[in-house]
Amino acid sequence: MMARLNYAGLAIAIAFLILAPLEFHRYGLYILSQWAVMTIAAIGLNLTLGYAGQVSLAQGAFVGVGAYCAAILTTHGWPLVGAAALALALCFVIGWLLGYPALRVQHHYLAFVTLAFSTLAFLVFRNESWLTGGTEGIDGVPRPNLLGLSTTPHLRYYYFCLFVLALVTVAMLGLVRSPWGRAFIALRENPLRALSLGVDTRRYILMAFAIGSALGGLAGVLYAPLVGLVEPPAFTLTLSLNLLMMVIVGGSGYFLGPFLGALVAVLLPEWLRGLENYYLIFYALLVMGLLIYSPTGLIGIADRFLTARRARAASAARAALGASIERP
């Protein structure tokens, strides 16, 4: 019954994502495209943080690396797909290297190390003008032609973003449901025991960083042609914090968390635009309220109801079993 409801909800959400934009204007399409792009980056961070338990304040920097890759290469005549392949590889390698500090430090300390990388990336974007255009950034990033079709119309570019999001979703679902997903969760829950059970924690930590960062880069590749302009202020620590919030508000370690979190982070500022300067205060209060009520985010609220139902059924079974198992 519950499973059937879930599938129905999912079908409605997908139908909405495909059909609704047909009625949208330019701005609505832009917002929805941005949701798709940010969701991809948040899915990556959810792997690193939510599943594997490694704090990162550098996801925004990886979006930046991907965006600059796309901007630099496509303005020099590369196809976007080529830029995407390079950005994925580059961010995978940088993410892997950034994982090394995580082998020694955890939690807040790891946050600081990744924050340092975030700052470093920003300085490179701003100061290496020969490559990145400096403070002016790179303007006029073209949208790609795919299968002979130009994606310059906003609707087509939106569908392109949605298609990439669908690919990422399927791949990530396969990943977290494979034994790797189990190893990542074990790493988060109890690294000491995981290590003693043969889990090569070092390799899985590096993989969690590398894959998560690569998805950040992929989001950046889509971001560049969407906005058309790539400049340093877009990839400061603010973006990393925003992505972190998407993961946490949505529900860290839940597969659908990033989708909801990104929806809140992208839509809420638009809806609250009328509040002008008070918007941030209102937004902050809303997030605080949510996290007090449900520390596991929006998905956590749904999960809580489902678990309560399951627990009632299970406790009956347990009571019956408990009687037999405690007896020698």
């Binding site: 449901r177 189990r182 003693s196 059970l197 390799r203 299970a314 347990r318 007896r327 020698p328």
Partner: protein, 247 residues
């Protein structure tokens, strides 16, 4: 009988404190070796040195004659050495079955085959057998965090057995377990020992538990080996009585 594990003059110093001081002993194929000793005598530190969790300051550890000092715990585990910890160490957000699958999934194939292979790494049947063996049947799909303490303790032991280890090191398995659960834990340990022929090393405070389970006992005091022998011999040894009871 052949030695499975040998410790040769293993020492561990923390700053000026010598926790383990030149301990040598061997674990023989198929035995249940008990390691006992007063609090702070270096039992757990010795365990951690044997298992790669700590690097010994001096000395050597050999598994089947091969030097393993300096090896990481995960590599040692894949060679068939398994352990439990003093405090319960399970994965509360995974189901009982998933806990057990995790305990063996890294033992075969490669990273790539685990990524693209079946979701349960082909271990569901083995996990269910282990669940049945520990009489946790109806709990297979429950989250491990929802089990009672005693059930979690059984799961904890089951995880150490899941990959079919040849050597299992149990760190205070009886700690914090009530009497009825202790009896069923001991029963399962003995059954596993008989059926699979695994070799055990058990650190324990509970003398009755050690005397009734172990085939040989090693007594540590102040980081050194004080006595070694059959349970009855050790119990009668005046030096052991003194170390335990004081003057």
């Amino acid at each position: 009988m052949a030695a499975v594990l040998e410790a040769f003059r293993v020492s561990k110093r923390f700053g000026g404190i010598t926790a383990v001081d030149g301990v040598s002993f061997e674990v023989r194929e198929g035995e249940i070796l008990g390691i006992i000793g007063p609090n702070g005598c270096g039992k757990s530190t010795l365990f951690n040195c044997l298992l790669g969790q700590l690097q010994p300051s001096a000395g050597e550890v050999r598994l089947d004659g091969r030097v393993t000092t300096g090896m990481r715990p995960c590599d040692l585990n894949r060679l068939g050495v398994s352990r439990t910890f003093q405090l319960l160490q399970i994965f509360p957000k995974l189901s009982v079955r998933e806990n057990l699958i995790l305990a063996a999934q890294e033992h075969k194939g490669t990273m790539l085959s685990r990524l693209f292979g079946p979701r349960d790494a082909g271990l569901s049947a083995a996990a269910d057998q282990m669940i049945a063996f520990f009489k946790l049947g109806p709990l297979a799909d429950e989250l491990a965090g929802g089990l009672s303490y005693g059930q979690q303790k059984l799961l904890d032991a089951a995880m150490a057995f899941m990959a079919g280890p040849r050597l299992v090191l149990l760190d205070e398995p009886a700690g914090g377990v009530n009497l009825t659960m202790l009896a069923s834990l001991k029963d399962r340990l003995k059954a596993f020992h008989l059926e699979r022929g695994a070799t055990f090393v058990v650190i324990e405070h509970n003398m009755d538990f050690v005397m009734s389970l172990c085939t040989r006992v090693l007594v540590l005091a102040e980081g050194r080996v004080l006595a070694e022998g059959l349970p009855a011999e050790v119990r009668a040894n005046p030096a052991v009585i003194e170390a335990y009871l004081g003057h």
